[in-house]
């Protein structure tokens, strides 16, 4: 079904309640069948210091199957599944990142990554499964290498941002890392071909058509040639990241560039944006609204442009902190809010 040709709506399928405080982050398990054959698993993390795992039962509804508590001593800010789906990382304001392993129906904490000086804001797993990255209010980005026996070695402490780093995200295909910050900039980090040293290969700030205020989130499309960032400046920006996949090691890093800015759709800070495998961008903001955008096709000469597909006002009663598409079912979207709930939505075409 070609979405551009139809009208769509967003149907609320389910509201997940249980967290005792705002829900900050969400992550769908990319390989839920590796966790006891589940058809869908969603992790959520909260200001209540816990992580909850919601599993799809025979009724096609998500029920809370696990609560991971008594580990983090402060807000759990972000969570991320490993590509194999058997490990979950949780990043906390208590300055640690915990690694949980699925063992016989339960999750055990098998490692705790320490080192950040204060709150850890985000954790991301590389698609190669080799690396983890974390970032913090201490302005640094740490890269960890996954070793056998549930060991994690810190291989780099990356300095460069002048303020808190809000989120880190690995490129979906190559081991290139992006970080976004309270200093309004976006930084791209890669390993030096020969030396295994990680360094900043590009900085996208206001001068490079970047954001004018704190950048809160970053997400790639599934083919890795596009990236979307969202900001306190009330815009979403789309970037051309195709050089990450087309170049070779010997050429050095070829710059990414700004493609398009989406403004006027949200009235308050845009906390999250995520790209579905079908190419729909979802955004969630402090105005309690959810927006969906698609690429405007047919402009072969001009720069790609994006248009609003749908805006759902009052999707939640309070700020939306995270939006995540289900990787196994590209029309299903989850949203998390300050109101303590998670909502599951379905994009449907309407005649």
């Amino acid at each position: 079904m070609e979405l551009l040709d139809s009208n769509v709506d967003l149907k609320e399928l389910q509201k997940l309640q249980g967290h005792a405080d705002r829900v900050w982050g969400l992550a769908w398990n990319p390989a839920p069948h590796n966790c006891g054959g589940a058809s869908a698993m969603l992790a959520s993390c909260s200001g209540d210091k816990t992580l909850r795992i919601w599993q799809m039962g025979p009724t096609h509804r998500l029920d809370c199957s696990t609560i991971l508590e008594d580990t983090h001593t402060r807000t759990v800010r972000s969570c991320a599944w490993s590509p194999c789906g058997k490990f979950l990382a949780t990043a906390s304001f208590d300055s640690t990142t915990a690694i949980w392993k699925y063992v016989g129906g339960d999750f055990e904490c098998v490692a705790t990554l320490e080192g950040h000086e204060n709150e850890v804001k985000s954790v991301t797993w590389s698609s190669s499964g080799t690396f983890l990255a974390t970032c913090s209010r201490d302005k640094t980005v740490w890269i960890w290498e996954v070793q056998p026996g549930d060991e994690y070695d810190c291989v780099a402490v990356l300095q460069g941002h002048s303020q808190d780093v809000k989120m880190v995200q690995w490129h979906p295909l190559v081991d290139v890392l992006v970080s976004v910050s309270y200093d309004n900039s976006i930084k791209v980090w890669a390993e030096d071909g020969d030396s295994d040293d990680w360094h900043c290969v590009q900085t996208l700030n206001e001068g490079s058509s970047g954001h004018a205020s704190t950048v809160w989130s970053v997400a790639f499309n599934s083919s890795g040639d596009r990236m979307v960032t969202s900001s306190d400046d009330l815009t979403l920006k789309i970037w051309d990241t195709s050089s990450a996949i087309s170049q070779t090691d010997t050429e050095g890093f070829a710059s990414w560039r700004h493609l398009c800015t989406l403004s006027g759709y949200h009235g308050r800070t845009i906390f999250s944006a995520h790209w579905s495998s079908e190419g729909i961008i979802a955004s969630g903001a402090g105005d309690d609204a959810l927006c969906l955008f698609v690429e405007e096709k047919g402009n072969s000469i001009e720069e790609p442009s994006y248009r609003l597909l749908l805006k759902k006002e009052k999707a939640h009663d309070m700020d939306i902190n995270s939006v995540r598409w289900n990787p196994k079912d590209q029309r299903i979207l989850a949203s998390a809010s300050d109101d303590g709930t998670i909502k599951i939505w379905e994009v449907r075409e309407i005649s």
Partner: protein
């Protein structure tokens, strides 16, 4: 409602105030009825406050106290912006950015020392009634 809002009292370490005689922010002219905008329909509140001196180190704490007081007094639908009055503080932009970054605020309030200061400031025993 706004006068209730204004009765936030600072006692700790505000260097210009005698700890034996706490004053409210309204008495210190840090906030006034005019510096508060409420749009009930849009569920929006904006507070502009004037720190007592240009380099007042308590400015962030004052702003944080105002935010916590409002968080606890207003319905959850309200969006609150707290700003330093333009031209009244030398690091105005930096303070405004911190006070309106909810992640920074949330983390600050998980710091037991900071929370204790805020709780003391907001506690009813420090409100003056003349």
């Amino acid at each position: 409602m706004t006068s209730g809002l204004c009765n936030v009292c600072l006692r700790n370490s505000l260097p210009f105030v005698d700890p034996e005689h706490p004053y409210s922010l309204e008495e210190l002219k840090v906030v006034s009825e005019d510096s508060i905008e409420v749009d009930d329909k849009l569920s929006h509140v904006r507070v502009v406050f004037t720190p007592t001196v240009e380099h007042c180190s308590m400015a962030t704490i004052i702003g944080l106290c105002i935010r916590v007081k409002l968080m606890r007094s207003l319905p959850s639908r309200f969006k609150v912006d707290i700003l330093v009055a333009p031209g009244t503080h030398e690091t105005e932009a930096s303070i405004n950015k911190q006070l309106n970054d909810k992640e920074r605020v949330a983390a600050a309030l998980e710091n037991p020392n900071l929370l204790e200061i805020v709780e003391e400031c907001l506690s009813p025993s420090f409100q003056t009634w003349t």
